[in-house]
C-alpha cells in the first residue's frame, strides 16, 4: 500500500540516478588524460609552457662565437651587462647567424637608458646629464661600449679620427 503510493518518487529517483550516471560517463570522456598527474591541473600544461621558444639566446650562446668581445668586456665595467641587454633579443641569430643579423645600435639613444642622471638611481651608479656631459655628441664618440672607461690616448685618437662607435655592434 505505502510502497505503491510512493511509486512516483521511485520514478523520480530513477530520473536523478540516470542523470547522475550520464554525468559520470560524460565526465570520464571529457577530463583531460593528464589531469591530476602532478596535482590538481593538467600535467601536459607543464610541457606545453616549456615549449615556448626563447627570444633571448642568453649571453653564453653569444660568447660561444664572440669570444673576442668577451675578452674586451672583462677588462671594463660592463663585464656583467649581458649582450642582449643592449643588442636586443637574438635567439634567431644564435640559431642561424647568417639569417638574422643584429641591428646597428645608436649610442646616443642606447647609453642614456641607463646612464641618464635620475635622482631615483642609487648614488654609486655612474650617471650624467647627457646634455651637459656631451653636448649632443653620441656617447660612442668617446666611449667604447664594451670597455667604457676612457683611456687618455684613446681619447686623443677618437677625437682625431672617425667614430668607432658601432664597432662592437658590427662584431
Amino acid at each position: 500500500m505505502r510502497f505503491k503510493d510512493a511509486n512516483h518518487l521511485f520514478r523520480l529517483a530513477a530520473v536523478f540516478a540516470a542523470g547522475f550516471l550520464i554525468f559520470l560517463l560524460v565526465r570520464g570522456f571529457l577530463v583531460p588524460r593528464s589531469f591530476g598527474q602532478y596535482g590538481h591541473y593538467r600535467g601536459d600544461a607543464l610541457a606545453e609552457i616549456k615549449k615556448q621558444p626563447p627570444n633571448y639566446a642568453g649571453h653564453e650562446a653569444c660568447e660561444a662565437c664572440h669570444s673576442d668581445v668577451l675578452e674586451q668586456k672583462v677588462k671594463g665595467k660592463h663585464v656583467r651587462v649581458n649582450c642582449e641587454a643592449c643588442h636586443g633579443p637574438l635567439a634567431r641569430h644564435a640559431e642561424d647567424p647568417g639569417g638574422t643579423t643584429p641591428e646597428k645600435l645608436d649610442t646616443a639613444k642606447l647609453c642614456v637608458r641607463c646612464h641618464e642622471a635620475n635622482a631615483g638611481k642609487p648614488k654609486w651608479f655612474p650617471q650624467v646629464v647627457s646634455v651637459d656631459h656631451s653636448a649632443g655628441l653620441a656617447c660612442g664618440e668617446c666611449h667604447k661600449p664594451h670597455t667604457p672607461a676612457i683611456v687618455a690616448e684613446e681619447k686623443a685618437a677618437s677625437a682625431a679620427g672617425p667614430s668607432k662607435a658601432s664597432k662592437g655592434a658590427k662584431k
Partner: protein, 244 residues
C-alpha cells in the same frame, strides 16, 4: 576505447580541436631537467635597481606581453618627510618600460622597486581557481594553463600584488611564468638576463650551490606584504617600509 572516444569527440568540433592539440603537444620531457630537483624563486636587490626598464622591455619581447599589461614592472617611490610626517608618491609610467623622468626636488628619498609575480608557495591565486587552470608547479613556479582557463578572473582578484591580468585577445588570465621555458633549459629569465646591474637574480632554492643561500644568510631580506603569509619567493634586499 580509444576509437570510441575519438568518435565521440568528432561530434564536437571544439573538443575535437582540443584533442588534436593534446595529441600534438604530447610532452617530450626535457631530457635532463627534473622538476623535483628545483624550487625556484628570485632575489631583487633594490639598492642595485636603476629603473632603466630593461627587464620590462625584455619580458614583453620574450613573452609577447600585450601593450598596457605587465608581467613585470618597475615602481618609483618618492618619500618626503617633514616634521615626522611622510608623504608618499608612487608612479610607474608604462610600467617603467621607458625609465622615469628625473625629479630633482631636494630632500626626497627616491628608489625603484621592480615587481612581478611572487611565485608564492601558498599562493592565494591558485587556491581560488575553480578548475585547476592555475597551479604551483612541482618546482615552485605559479603557472597558468591557457587551454584550461575559463577567464573568470577570480585569481586576478585574489592576487595581493596585482600581478595577473586578463589577456585581451586570448581572454585567459596571464602572469609571469618565471620564464619557465627558459629556466627548464638552463637559461635564466629574460628579465635577469637583461638586467644591466644584476639587481635581479634567479634563485634555485633547492640547489645548495646557488649563491642565494649565502645572500639570505648575510643580508636582511624581506618579502612583500608578509602579513598575508603567502610564502612569497620574491625576496627583496633593501626593501623600504613604505613599499606596498
Amino acid at each position: 576505447m580509444n576509437i570510441s572516444r575519438r568518435h565521440f569527440l568528432v561530434l564536437l568540433p571544439a573538443a575535437a580541436l582540443a584533442w588534436e592539440q593534446v595529441l600534438a603537444g604530447t610532452p617530450e620531457l626535457a631530457s635532463n631537467y627534473n622538476t623535483s630537483e628545483h624550487w625556484w624563486g628570485m632575489l631583487v636587490d633594490i639598492e642595485k635597481c636603476i629603473g632603466c626598464g630593461s627587464c620590462v622591455r625584455a619580458c614583453q619581447k620574450e613573452n609577447n606581453v600585450p601593450d598596457g599589461y605587465y608581467r613585470t614592472w618597475i615602481e618609483r617611490y618618492r618619500i618626503k618627510e617633514v616634521n615626522g610626517v611622510e608623504t608618499l608618491e608612487v608612479d610607474s609610467p608604462d610600467g617603467g618600460k621607458n625609465g622615469f623622468p628625473n625629479d630633482t626636488e631636494p630632500g626626497v628619498k627616491q628608489f625603484f622597486v621592480p615587481k612581478m609575480c611572487n611565485h608564492c608557495a601558498d599562493s592565494p591565486c591558485t587556491q581560488v581557481c575553480p578548475v585547476g587552470a592555475t597551479f604551483v608547479s612541482p618546482d615552485g613556479v605559479v603557472l597558468i594553463d591557457e587551454k584550461y582557463c575559463l577567464g573568470c578572473r577570480y585569481c586576478i582578484q585574489a592576487c595581493p600584488y596585482g600581478c595577473r591580468f586578463l589577456h585581451p585577445q586570448k581572454e585567459v588570465a596571464q602572469k609571469c611564468t618565471l620564464c619557465y621555458h627558459r629556466i627548464t633549459q638552463g637559461l635564466t629569465t629574460a628579465c635577469c638576463e637583461n638586467c644591466p646591474t644584476g639587481a635581479r637574480q634567479l634563485a634555485d632554492l633547492k640547489n645548495p650551490k646557488d649563491p642565494i643561500h649565502e645572500f639570505l644568510r648575510t643580508h636582511k631580506v624581506q618579502v612583500l606584504k608578509p602579513h598575508l603569509a603567502t610564502q612569497a619567493k620574491l625576496y627583496y634586499n633593501g626593501l623600504d617600509g613604505a613599499v606596498r
